[in-house]
């Protein structure tokens, strides 16, 4: 009985006979307004105008260059952190990973008297291995990333100190500026670019480049789709065949890559590295990502948002100095600015969703 019975063919169409509702095509403006970064952009502009108005030194090109540099050193790692957060995880070890990468690079090339580039590359491998380990532990143990990366945070902090002390006998690395390849590495990671009217650190350009690449990945590739999916609903993503483990491990390695890059900037900018640096910055990266519109719960956010978040943070930090406010109250100003920025962000987003 179960062989398909031939019935008189009927037109295979289903579309209902009644009036079908008009498909709403949202205007370009509405679509732009619904992007995660639009609120933070408004906040960034507001803060910029504010400091521009009250702090005359803020108005110079040099000041803008300093602000951009400050934003870039936060923004490069914040980018990786934002992608990770869109993928639904945290990384508390990102701050010390920067130091680990810088220390590794410096010590490897110095202790073995190698070309600086050898250190740079080996340290990249080490950094990626750390990222991989974070992700792998997360997948294997199914523990929250907060705990996994907190352990890594503690462990790396100790390793940074212990290994440096062991190898150099001090808690800072030797000056590597005399090594072969130092000059070329410095040109790549930590040079000044003369734009004619003002000098801008090369890290600013890298930051912008990375942001564009990350945006493209997020919005235009399969990987980006998967990042949003694992962050939005990991179980559902797994059920439709997204390789959750690979995506998450990849995201941790992305953070490690960004940390490595900033680490190299640090090293070639200062020629030496102190083993105790970087602690506390992990929170700043998370703040930048969140101010830029990334959801702490995952599944929502953008790379450009993270860049804007870093810009807001850098601008506020430096703007307070340009304004010459009492340094004792520095953190208070920072807190107020942060709160105002996220509130404005929220306000803009809400009014955007109320429009067609």
């Amino acid at each position: 009985m179960s062989s398909p019975v031939a019935t008189p063919p009927s037109p295979p169409s289903t579309p209902s006979t009644g009036a079908e509702p008009v498909r709403v095509q949202r205007s370009l403006g509405a679509r732009i307004l619904s992007r995660p970064e639009v609120g933070s952009l408004a906040a960034a502009i507001a803060i910029f105008v504010f400091f521009f108005a009250i702090a005359p030194p803020f108005r110079t090109a040099e000041a803008l260059s300093t602000v951009l540099y400050s934003a870039s050193t936060i923004g490069i790692v914040a980018l990786g952190v934002a992608l990770l957060m869109i993928g639904g995880e945290f990384d508390l070890s990102s701050g010390v990973q920067v130091t680990t990468a810088a220390l590794a690079s410096s010590m490897i090339s110095y202790q073995f008297s190698l070309n600086a580039w050898v250190g740079v590359l080996v340290s990249l491998i080490i950094a990626l291995a750390i990222g991989f380990l974070n992700g792998w532990l997360l997948i294997k143990t199914k523990l929250p990333s907060f705990l996994i990366t907190l352990s890594t945070f503690f462990m790396l902090q100790g390793i940074n100190l212990g290994v440096t002390k062991l190898l150099t006998g001090a808690v800072a690395t030797e000056n590597i500026s005399d090594l072969d390849g130092f000059a070329s590495a410095k040109a790549i990671f930590a040079s000044d670019v003369d734009l004619g009217f003002v000098n801008v650190k090369v890290s600013v350009f890298w930051w912008i480049l990375f942001t564009l690449v990350a945006t493209w990945i997020l919005l235009r590739t399969k990987t980006g789709n998967w990042i949003f999916a694992v962050g939005g609903n990991q179980d559902s993503a797994r059920a439709v065949g997204v390789p959750v483990a690979r995506v998450k491990i990849g995201l941790f390695m992305g953070v490690a890559f960004c940390a490595w890059f900033l680490g190299q900037h640090l090293l070639f900018n200062f020629s030496t590295v102190q083993a105790g640096l970087g602690v506390g910055n992990e929170l700043i990266y998370i703040v930048a990502a969140v101010v830029g519109g990334a959801l702490l719960t995952g599944g929502y956010g953008s790379a450009i948002g993270a860049a804007i978040g870093a810009f807001i943070f850098g601008m506020t930090t430096q703007g307070i100095v340009y304004a010459g406010w009492d340094p004792n109250w520095f953190k208070t100003f920072l807190g107020v600015m942060l709160l105002l920025a996220v509130l404005l962000n929220l306000y803009v987003k809400n009014s955007a969703s109320r429009r067609k």
């Binding site: 300093t66 800072a172 020629s271």
Partner: protein
């Protein structure tokens, strides 16, 4: 283990408890000095540290529990750590203070102190800036709310009143560089930058270049790169409190006290600084700085 001739056969355990921020090269020198003394004198050195005052006090208690033979402690948070140290004294454990707490150590029945006077050090820095005809100084505090650092800046301000403080995040050198740079752009009348740690001084030099400022840089503490910068004239001078000596003397005086009943300083603090390092004496000192002993 290398042992000195006058080291006793008995191996003493000495606990050294500081308020070190882990990974700071200044503290590394204190430890290096202490370790040197310990290995010369056949002493088992137990070093521990915590930046949190309450936790540091607990560490002192921990040393008392462990029944060590002697305790060397920094009194940056005298009110918190002092009473714990006093307990050690009362328990019959020889105890010395070092590095900070010059005004308080006697209150807690601690017989000896090795260190510099932060206020005095700051004042001498201020005097030299004034002598050199400075117009306005910027004092860079890299740890918010640190008593010792605030005391240095207050000292500078005492002898050179047109001094302004700047807070930076010492755990993030690029941000230190950026913030000092921003300040120099904001206030071009600054003629002198006083930094309170060697790495901060180097970041200040970078910031100065970025901002195109002509301000002079002076600093507290030394390291190899700062020594080089002094040699090349980029840094005017450094106020060295000789951390290596602080650590070394703390251990050695305890050992002498344990083996020979000595005490040092005649009831007064033994000052290890301020010792000025500038282009007049740097050639000699640079070598030691490279060895991590100055």
């Amino acid at each position: 283990q290398q042992t000195n001739t006058n080291a006793t056969a008995q191996r003493f355990t000495i606990a050294m408890i500081t308020h070190e921020q882990p990974g700071d090269s200044f503290w590394d020198k204190i430890r290096a000095g202490a370790q040197q003394a310990a290995s010369e004198l056949n002493v088992d050195l137990k070093y521990s540290n915590n930046q949190d005052a309450g936790q540091q006090a607990t560490l002192v208690q921990n040393a008392i529990d462990s029944k060590v033979n002697g305790i060397a402690v920094t009194l940056a948070y005298a009110d918190q750590v002092g009473p714990a140290a006093q307990k050690a004294v009362q328990a019959g454990i020889p105890t010395v203070a070092f590095n900070s707490g010059i005004n308080e150590y006697q209150k807690y029945d601690i017989p000896m102190y090795f260190g510099s006077d932060e206020d005095l050090a700051g004042q001498s820095a201020g005097q030299r800036i004034a002598q050199a005809g400075g117009g306005k100084a910027l004092c860079v505090v890299q740890e918010q709310g640190s008593v010792a650092l605030e005391a240095r800046c207050a000292g500078v301000k005492k002898s050179f009143p047109s001094t302004e403080n700047l807070q930076v995040n010492g755990a993030d050198l690029p941000s230190v560089q950026q913030t000092i740079g921003a300040k120099l752009q904001q206030d071009p009348s600054i003629t002198d930058v006083v930094t309170l740690g060697a790495p901060i001084a180097l970041a200040a030099l970078q910031a100065k270049t970025d901002a195109g400022s002509q301000a002079k840089v002076v600093t507290f503490d030394l390291n190899a790169d700062v020594a080089k910068a002094i040699q090349s004239g980029q840094i005017q001078f450094s106020i060295d409190q000789q951390p290596y000596v602080q650590g070394y003397m703390a251990v050695q005086s305890l050992w002498l006290n344990l083996t020979n009943g000595n005490d040092l300083g005649g009831g007064k603090p033994v000052l290890t600084g301020p010792s000025f390092v500038d282009n007049t004496n740097i050639s000699k000192i640079a070598e030691y700085a490279a060895k991590n002993t100055r």
